[in-house]
């Protein structure tokens, strides 16, 4: 059977692999050789699930959004990742990776962050385990995400500004990779999404797959069936989406909908809609779709949401797009902001702006009244308050 999961070499169709300089080979190879067997160890599983339960607060609810459903005349369920400790799905991955790092005997953690959500989730688990933590963040992002910088510092992490290139997420990722090249033995790199060289996309997807594992059980309870008609998620690098799709990837009757950030419009020159604007290439060690010039220079994306502001997309999603398995929709800043505010008014939930993109599809994408549509509510909007205030002049 055709599978949408990674093969042993980390390829999703033609996408994925490990396009890394030799300096990174031993680090990635150590991880590649060990990640599956470590994840299978009973002691690992037990600690992972215990922490997800007691520390993160899982399982997160699957909430039937009654008023939203009425408005759009379909059955909408929200998977409440916003209720995770630290406010987003990101922590599922950082819990998994910190335990992985411990098993591999690493005593220093590095991470990249854009908006700071993954940085906070990494700093959190490092504090939890008492491990040294360095987070790279673009100089420009440091200036515009001050509260998350403060949170990381309070949690004991060192935040190092990335001053190269365009000084945002892709450059923070470059700096983290350079740090790993310079510290190949004692350091583990906790990457924040389903991007990077093999085995990262597959490993991160597996850690996030708890999302769809829970959806299956919860939907069984609520609807008497494990499979929704559609599962919807926003895609930056694609980790919350990968987790929400994971157990449905090879179930053809479940429709997969991926929502990207159109920024000011797909053709405006200020967008982060990678599937629409990207071409096949190599970014951060992975062969995938990415936004680039004709000459192969990686370009700077734009979105009002810092978490979707990445010029590439994970190889799983590139494959879902290229194969037609996934339906890709892009949503502008304005439509996302409107949908975010609508969720506040209809359901009393303030979503992260990333998530608001996923919620915005209902305006144009119509579903049948008895369709069950699960939207992954990847994060809460506390971190975005300043953005909402500025946008709506609150």
């Amino acid at each position: 059977m055709k599978s949408y999961h990674a093969d042993e070499r980390g390829y999703y169709g033609e996408f994925g692999g490990a396009f890394i300089p030799e300096m990174l080979y031993p680090n990635c190879e150590e991880l590649r050789q060990n990640y599956l067997s470590i994840m299978e160890e009973p002691s690992f599983k037990e600690e992972f699930h215990q922490l997800l339960k007691d520390y993160v607060g899982r399982p997160t609810p699957l909430y039937f959004a009654k008023r939203l459903s009425e408005k759009y005349n379909t059955k909408i369920y929200l998977k409440r990742e916003d209720l995770c400790h630290t406010g987003a799905h990101k922590v599922n991955n950082t819990i998994g990776q910190i335990l992985m790092a411990k098993k591999l005997g690493k005593n220093r953690i590095i991470a990249e962050t854009g908006a700071g959500q993954h940085g906070v989730a990494t700093a959190t688990v490092c504090a939890l385990m008492g491990i040294q933590c360095v987070v790279y963040m673009g100089e420009i992002d440091i200036a515009r995400q001050a509260p998350n910088v403060a949170r990381m510092k309070m949690l004991g992490a060192e935040v190092r500004p990335a001053t190269s290139g365009s000084k945002t997420l892709k450059d923070a990722t470059n700096e983290a990779i350079r740090d790993w090249i310079n510290n190949p033995v004692d350091t583990h790199y906790i990457i924040g999404s389903v991007v990077g060289p093999h085995p990262y996309p597959d490993m991160v997807a597996r850690f996030q797959s708890v999302i769809s594992e829970e959806i299956k059980n919860q939907l069984q309870e609520k609807e008497g069936r494990e499979n929704p008609d559609y599962v919807v998620a926003c895609v930056g690098g694609g980790s919350n989406a990968a987790g929400a799709y994971y157990h449905y990837l090879d179930v053809p009757e479940v429709g997969i909908i991926a929502v990207e950030a159109a920024g000011k419009g797909v053709d405006s020159g200020e967008s982060a809609a990678t599937s629409a604007l990207g071409k096949v290439g190599i970014i951060h060690g992975s062969k995938t779709l990415l936004m680039q010039t004709q000459d192969g220079q990686i370009t700077e994306p734009y979105s009002i949401s810092a978490g979707l502001d990445y010029p590439g997309v994970g190889p799983m999603h590139a494959h879902l797009y290229a194969s037609g398995r996934g339906e890709f929709i892009s949503i502008t800043d304005d439509d996302a902001m409107k949908a975010g505010l609508e969720l506040c008014k209809l359901e009393g939930i303030i979503p992260a702006i990333e998530t608001s993109h996923a919620l915005a599809i209902f305006e144009d994408r119509k579903f049948n009244p008895d369709d069950v549509v699960v939207v992954n509510l990847s994060g809460r909007g506390d971190k975005d308050l300043q953005n909402y205030i500025d946008y709506f002049k609150l």
Binding site: P21, E22, P26, I177, G281, G296
Partner: protein, 253 residues
């Protein structure tokens, strides 16, 4: 015979110099190559600038960024180099990241290299297995030598596999680091240099990363066939422009 192979047969230590094409000025490429040859350098690595050079330290990041700002791109570099073989005979290697090559089209890129008289490529993020499966035939068809890197962390087994896949020299990265000049080499480096020398590989090794002056060149080439200078030369260009390239080379040997 490929000019790189020919040069490696000479009974001497190889001095190779790297620079970013399009830096400090867009049109300096040919002059830098000519002056390096005149100064007695043995091999030149022409850097194809990339927006996200993740194996490079600050110096080469900055020269790459500046070169791109100056307007350098793959087609323009080929245009600048089209008559280079009328004036120089030194072996020339293009060094860059894989994505710009992929966008140009690997087959077209290699064909253009052959036309111009490029002798080899160094693409650090093109992995060994992908090269062998997808691109080796194309490289060979166009007479291009592909140079692989090894580091102090590379296992003996993998070094042997890389040696088998190589046919010019092996690029021996001196330490676990990105590019950039260091203070000098310690005992860790000499252990590594000795270990590699004792493996008696088929291909000669040329050491790169952290070579900046006569002393580090001398240390690096005690066991290895040669050494590569990158960041230190770029710093020289930053300060002096294209003047005094001969003086820079004279300080090295």
């Amino acid at each position: 015979m490929n000019r790189i192979k020919q040069k490696l047969q000479e009974d001497k230590k190889i001095l190779s110099i790297y620079f970013s094409a399009g830096y400090p000025n867009l049109d300096d490429t040919v002059k830098i190559i000519q002056d390096l040859e005149k100064s007695g350098v043995d091999l030149i690595e022409i850097g194809l600038p990339f927006s996200d050079p993740l194996a490079d330290g600050p110096t080469i990041q900055e020269s790459s960024t500046a070169a791109l700002k100056n307007g350098m791109n793959t087609s323009l570099l080929f245009e600048q180099l089209k008559d280079i073989r009328k004036t120089v005979s030194i072996p020339l290697i293009l060094m860059g990241y894989f994505n710009p090559v992929l966008q140009y089209g690997v087959a077209e890129f290699c064909a253009r290299c052959e036309e111009i008289g490029i002798d080899g490529l160094i693409l650090p993020d093109l992995p060994l297995d992908v090269y062998k499966e997808e691109y080796e035939d194309i490289f060979k068809k166009h007479g291009l030598i592909n140079v692989f890197l090894i580091t102090p962390q590379t296992s003996d087994e993998r070094i042997k596999a890389i040696d088998d896949a190589s046919e010019g020299f092996i690029y021996m990265v001196s330490s676990a680091s990105t590019t950039g000049a260091k203070q000098g080499f310690g005992s860790e480096q000499s252990d590594y240099f000795n270990r590699i020398a004792s493996m008696e590989l088929n291909n000669p090794q040329i050491v790169g990363f952290g070579i900046s002056n006569a002393e580090t060149f001398e240390q690096a080439t005690q066991k290895a066939k040669g050494a590569i200078i990158g960041s230190a030369f770029i710093k020289h260009l930053t300060v002096n422009g294209v003047d005094g390239i001969g003086d820079f080379v004279k300080q090295i040997r």
